[in-house]
């Protein structure tokens, strides 16, 4: 086992202890007034009109994550190459140039194909207006939602 990791271990232990201690301290010291409003989702002070339950994230996030993994793997290969660079010499350089060249072509391709574009403004506006339709009154909320604030609770919860 590498002893070089002992400082990291100590640091990790300190970070963990700090988190645990802070939470424990606040749990012990704070006043306890549990209210439904406190567990409601916070939306900049506005009453939340809907839960993100039925929302689907745009596929673009996923594409970014996919591209990230691919380039992440490329970077991983750079790491041992850089460490062993001196002993590998010119041959290692050529190898890595070929490797990076291939992935670079892919990068150019993705770029050209618009894989890195997020979306056009007018398109974003269209999608946004399509997405945010207020809930019709007929829509029932499930009992567990608890997103409406009872006025009384809000008032008394001010303390």
């Amino acid at each position: 086992m590498t002893t070089g990791y002992v400082p990291i271990l100590i640091l990790a232990a300190m970070a963990g202890a700090f988190a645990v201690l802070s939470l424990a301290a606040s749990a012990l010291l704070r006043p306890k007034h549990p209210l439904p409003a406190k567990s409601a989702p916070y939306e900049c002070g506005i009453e939340p009109i809907r839960l993100p339950q039925s929302e689907r994230f745009p596929v673009k996030f996923y594409v970014v994550a996919m591209l990230f993994i691919i380039f992440d793997i490329e970077t991983i290969f750079l790491f041992p190459w850089a460490v062993a660079f001196r002993s590998l010499g010119l041959f290692g350089l050529v190898e890595m140039i070929v490797f990076i060249g291939l992935v670079f072509v892919a990068y150019v391709y993705v770029w050209q194909k618009g894989g890195l574009e997020w979306e056009k403004p007018e398109q974003a506006r269209r999608e946004l207006s399509a997405r945010f339709v207020p809930l019709p009154p007929s829509v029932e909320r499930s009992p567990g939602d608890r997103i409406t604030r009872e006025p009384a609770a809000v008032e008394s919860g001010a303390g």
Partner: protein, 186 residues
């Protein structure tokens, strides 16, 4: 027990418990977070056996990227995020298969390495990994870049399912997509 063995036991217990929690947790996001712990512990095991580079690969690729991808895909597929949403009717069978695999592997390792003398660890430095990789495994390394290339093209294919002609300009390149929130709302 040596320090190394004690460390291993601690790591293995944490990893094992979170692995069990991962499959028993009913909230998919919690399951994904337990997966992070399990994968990180696997990385820690690599550290214990002095495979330093592998440990960081484990952390960077698996903990850093794969789990993020997993979480994105959870959000993408509209998997219900919340309590009591995850259940599988075949858990008995799955448990049986899991136990079988465990027993098989335990037997295999015991049978192959059980009687042999203890292995002395050699610290595998990143430099050694680099030299081996870029001298002996030149060709596999370059094939990996082809694999990544194919994967990137695949990402383009999957992401741009809505522009058939391959044209990337013009306002009407996207077919109007039906948003799931519209179609499936009660």
């Amino acid at each position: 027990m040596s320090v190394q063995e004690i460390t291993f036991v601690i790591i293995a217990v944490i990893g094992g418990v979170s692995a069990v929690r991962m499959v028993t947790s009913r909230n998919v996001v919690h399951a994904a977070l337990y997966l992070v712990v399990t994968l990180a512990m696997v990385g820690a095991v690599y550290l214990v056996v002095a495979a330093e580079f592998l440990a960081w690969v484990q952390v960077l690729i698996y903990v850093g990227a794969i789990v993020v991808l997993l979480l994105f895909s959870l959000m993408l597929t509209k998997a219900p995020i919340g309590r009591d949403t995850l259940d599988n009717q075949q858990r008995g069978l799955a448990a049986l298969v899991g136990m079988g695999v465990l027993a098989g592997l335990a037997f295999l390792i015991q049978d192959s390495f059980g009687g042999s003398k203890p292995i002395t660890l050699h610290q595998a430095t990143t430099e050694q990994v680099g030299v081996t990789l870029f001298r002996g495994f030149v060709w596999p390394f370059e094939v990996v870049s082809v694999l990544l290339l194919a994967a990137l093209v695949g990402a383009v294919v999957i992401a741009r399912k809505d522009d058939p002609a391959g044209s990337r300009r013009g306002p009407d390149r996207r077919a109007p997509l039906r948003r799931g929130s519209e179609a499936t709302r009660r």
